[in-house]
């Protein structure tokens, strides 16, 4: 069983890499895959708390790399999905603790055990980013339909190509269809025109996301959440399934439909 290594990166911080990694991991596990998610940040730990596994950490990525722990000791098994594991980030401030070749060696070990290895990259373009991308077979770039996020994504696309890890695919996160319709937000077509990259997922802005991080239960487990549904679709596409993109139109209430009748819609 040779696993596939997928790195989730973005350039810009705060666009939803960790949320995406956690949810793709859970969604793949729900599809019956054996998955490990890896927090490749050095110094700041995030993936564990989003997944609700923060109390289970004994060893971390740096412990493995520096030989203080065997792989099996550091792998944290998810309670709900026994085939989903986490390798947490270290909280050391030494950015040089892990190198790209360390990550490649780790990924080669993990490949023997897992169908998917999903690596959460830190923001930026320095060492942490290079570490996260080094073992990647596929790179997913997360961005928001917003000027500074898209600009950073373009830089990342260039760096990925320069490393011969391309072509990367795009996940457009925090999309608000109503703003797009009013011309107040870049649309998925705008973003792909600008970046010249294929989209693998469009995730709507969703108020279920924060409460789900609050509880440590990734939003893809909430069947009422459209973001959750979008993450499921991304996981299915990663498995080779051809899943059409969700219709992002909000369900129209009675009074909204009435408003449209009296000229409240777009001309």
């Amino acid at each position: 069983m040779a696993g596939k290594v997928i790195t989730v990166t973005s350039g810009k911080g705060g666009v939803g890499k960790t949320t995406t990694t956690a949810n793709i991991g859970v969604a793949l596990a729900r599809l019956g895959k054996k998955v490990v998610v890896v927090d490749a940040d050095i110094g700041l730990r995030n993936l564990d708390i989003i997944m609700g596994l923060e109390n289970r950490i004994v060893y971390d990525l740096v412990d493995i790399v520096e030989g203080r722990a065997k792989l099996k000791q550091a792998l944290i098994k998810h309670k709900q999905f026994p085939d989903l594991y986490l390798i947490p980030a270290a909280q050391t401030r030494d950015k040089t603790a892990v190198s790209p070749s360390d990550m490649v060696a780790l990924a080669n070990e993990l490949r023997k055990e897992f169908d998917f290895i999903v690596i959460d990259s830190p923001a930026g373009i320095e060492r942490g980013f290079r570490n996260a991308v080094a073992p990647a077979e596929e790179v997913l770039i997360v961005t928001n339909p917003e000027v500074s996020a898209v600009r950073d994504a373009d830089r990342i696309i260039g760096l990925i190509e320069a490393e011969n890890k391309g072509p990367a695919k795009l996940i457009l996160n925090r999309v608000k269809i109503e703003m797009i319709k009013k011309g107040e937000m870049l649309s998925p077509d705008d973003v792909t025109d600008i970046l010249a990259i294929k989209i693998i997922g469009i995730v709507p802005e969703d108020e279920h996301v924060v409460p789900s991080s609050n509880s440590g239960v990734p939003v893809t487990l909430n069947d009422h959440s459209r973001a959750g549904q979008a993450f499921q679709n991304i996981a299915r596409r990663l498995c080779g399934e051809n899943v059409p993109f969700m219709n992002l139109e909000q369900n129209q209430g009675f009074f909204q439909r009435l408003g449209k009748l009296f000229g409240g819609g777009n001309g």
Binding site: V147, R151, K182, E184, D190, I194, A196, G259, G267
Partner: protein
């Protein structure tokens, strides 16, 4: 009521999303070639100065544009109308007997 007002102003100005797209397309051309707009402007001015040493450049219709088909292939396309040749004029001006020798 406010919806009517929104549509009124909306129709009369470019949407902010369109502005964002144009701004991004512009700035990314420069990001990708690592030449910010001001530096590009300096380069164009220098190019014109060099050309002007050889021919008399006609200022009105000069166009030096950066074209980018994709992230990895850019080109500078210049249209520089000029009249006659500066060096030809200078030669004849400094040596009025030159043409007589060629005859």
């Amino acid at each position: 009521m406010s919806n009517f007002f929104d549509r009124l102003i909306g129709r009369n100005r470019e949407s902010s999303a369109q502005t964002a797209k144009q701004r991004l397309q512009f700035v990314l051309v420069h990001d990708r070639i690592n030449l910010p707009p001001e530096r590009l402007k300096e380069m164009k001015e220098e190019i014109l100065r060099v050309i002007s040493k050889y021919v008399a450049v006609q200022g009105d219709e000069i166009d030096i544009a950066l074209q980018q088909r994709d992230r990895n292939s850019s080109k500078l396309v210049a249209e520089v109308p000029f009249s006659g040749s500066l060096s030809g004029l200078a030669e004849r001006a400094s040596d009025p007997d030159k043409d007589k020798d060629d005859a």
